[in-house]
């Protein structure tokens, strides 16, 4: 027995002596020998790209220090961006606290046609510039692609393609405040605006506007009614004391929902998005002509009486006699 144990023990000692960790540093991937670049899209990845808002990119460029420095960067979009498209001249890096720190490395960017470019004003061998593309009206319903490129002092260039990104056909309007009895006439028919609110004075000055109105908002102190939205054919009994302007005749279709907190309309941290497809495929066959007792974070799916426009309206805030709404509108 003794011999057996001693034998096992000595084998164990030998085994342990042979095991050890490898402390050499090894590279993951090949070492960098030339100018290289990479790009990511920083704006909301799944939200619809709406005309007038922007698509944000972070474009990273680097060259080994011994080979040279970065000279210039540019991006060409397949559809020229609207006024305000630019390269942020600061390079951002994230510090230990997780905060993005800007460092000025480039000159103000210049845009000619579909190309935005900037030159580096300091000697740097690595930088990440942010590019903001303002979505133009020409891109509505189409796709946009981008080609980023960088030039270094030693003549090397590198290119990175991004896209294509589908641009939504929708319009979006945020945070419109309505006041019962005064600024309470909602129209979905204005160009480039999802919603337009007319006041009582507007209607008095121009009575033909009444035909543009799709919904009338009214607040009633009764706990059963509170904040209500009415189409022309809504039952009178549910809208006591609400005055419809002469000529208001649109039989708008309404479907009430609760808790659909679209990320762009609500600006709350829920990842829900109303997209073109939702409005294209919405079924309004059993829709109503009115919606009462609306609360904050409730919503309305709308189809205008003539079937030309569909919209999703989100209730941001409510208070006595007033409501704040935001909407996305889709032209069929």
């Amino acid at each position: 027995m003794n011999i057996k144990y001693k034998y096992l023990f000595s084998m164990l000692i030998c085994g342990l002596a042979l095991v050890s960790c490898n402390n050499d540093i090894t590279l993951i991937g090949d070492s960098v020998t030339a100018l290289s670049n990479e790009c990511i899209k920083r704006s909301l990845p799944v939200a619809p790209n709406i005309v007038g808002s922007n698509i944000e990119f972070a474009y990273a460029m680097a060259i080994p220090k011994e080979l040279g420095t970065l000279k210039s960067a540019q991006v060409t979009a397949s559809i020229a961006g609207a006024e305000g498209t630019y390269f942020n001249p600061n390079s951002y890096n994230t510090n230990n606290a997780g905060i993005d720190v800007p460092v000025l490395v480039a000159a103000e960017s210049t845009t000619s046609g579909a190309t935005t470019s900037t030159t580096f004003t300091v000697d740097t061998c690595a930088a990440t510039l942010r590019y903001y593309y303002i979505i133009p009206e020409e891109a509505r319903g189409k796709e946009v692609s981008f080609t980023f490129s960088v030039k270094a002092s030693n003549g090397q260039t590198a290119e990175y393609k991004m896209g294509p990104y589908k641009i939504s056909k929708m319009d979006m309007t945020l945070n419109q405040v309505l006041t019962s009895g005064n600024k309470c006439y909602i129209s979905f028919r204005t160009d480039n605006e999802a919603l337009h609110i007319y006041s009582a004075a507007d209607i008095q000055a121009n009575s033909s506007l009444a035909s543009q109105i799709d919904l009338v908002y009214s607040y009633n102190a009764s706990a059963d009614l509170t904040h209500g939205f009415f189409a022309a054919n809504s039952p009178e009994v549910y809208r006591p004391n609400v005055v419809f302007p002469n000529g208001f005749s649109n039989n708008t279709k309404i479907l009430k929902v609760y808790g659909l907190r679209d990320r762009q309309l609500a600006n709350l941290n829920y990842s829900q998005h109303v997209d073109d497809l939702d409005l294209e495929t919405m079924d309004y066959t059993n829709a109503e002509s009115f919606a009462v007792k609306m609360v904050a974070e409730a919503g309305l799916w709308i189809e205008t009486g003539d079937g030309k426009y569909r919209a999703y309206v989100f209730i941001n805030k409510i208070a006595a006699n007033t409501v704040t709404i935001s909407a996305k509108r889709y032209a069929l």
Partner: protein, 170 residues
């Protein structure tokens, strides 16, 4: 070792005997794949109505008279009732027919009632109102929606009439 063999053979044979005796009884399944049991209770215990925003439109519990087989749902003033989702809570093992496969139009079930004092207490429909409505079956809307509850043993069927009454504006 020989002793062990003798005993284990006996034990195995006994086990086989017991297993063959204790088989599962008949488990009848009806045409919907639901189990048919021995229960003969047949009633609706709760009735819910949801609007398109999935919020309830009732005020208080629905009044259910199991003897007269009537369900009265009291709804808030301003409720559109042509696109509601009804939800029946039934007795254990019960089944409902016709099946609810989507939203239902309850306009034929809407009943206009002349209210008197004491009908609405703290915003809820009172016993007085419910019993008065049920007492006069001839005043029920002609095409009020009817749903039949079937008991667990599939032998008892009770047809319930659903009425919707709108509370006056508060």
């Amino acid at each position: 070792m020989n002793n062990m063999k003798k005993y284990s053979i006996k034990i195995v044979l006994m086990l086989i005997c017991f297993i063959s005796m204790g088989s599962c009884g008949d488990s009848p399944i009806d045409e919907d794949g639901l189990l048919i049991t021995v229960r003969n209770d047949c009633y609706v215990s709760n009735f819910e109505l949801l609007d398109t925003d999935l919020q309830t439109v009732r005020v208080g519990n629905s009044y259910i008279d199991t003897l007269q087989q009537v369900v009265i749902a009291y709804v808030r003033f301003g409720t559109p009732i042509n696109n509601l989702w009804p939800q029946f809570s039934l007795c254990t093992d019960g089944k409902l027919t016709p099946k609810i496969t989507g939203r239902v139009d309850f306009t034929p079930s809407k009943m206009d009632v002349a209210f008197t004092d004491g009908d609405w207490v703290a915003g809820y429909g009172s016993e007085q109102l419910s019993t008065r409505i049920i007492a006069d079956k001839s005043a029920f809307p002609k095409n009020a929606l009817k749903y039949t509850v079937i008991s667990g043993n599939r032998k008892v069927e009770k047809e319930y009439t659903v009425l919707v009454v709108e509370r006056p504006m508060q």
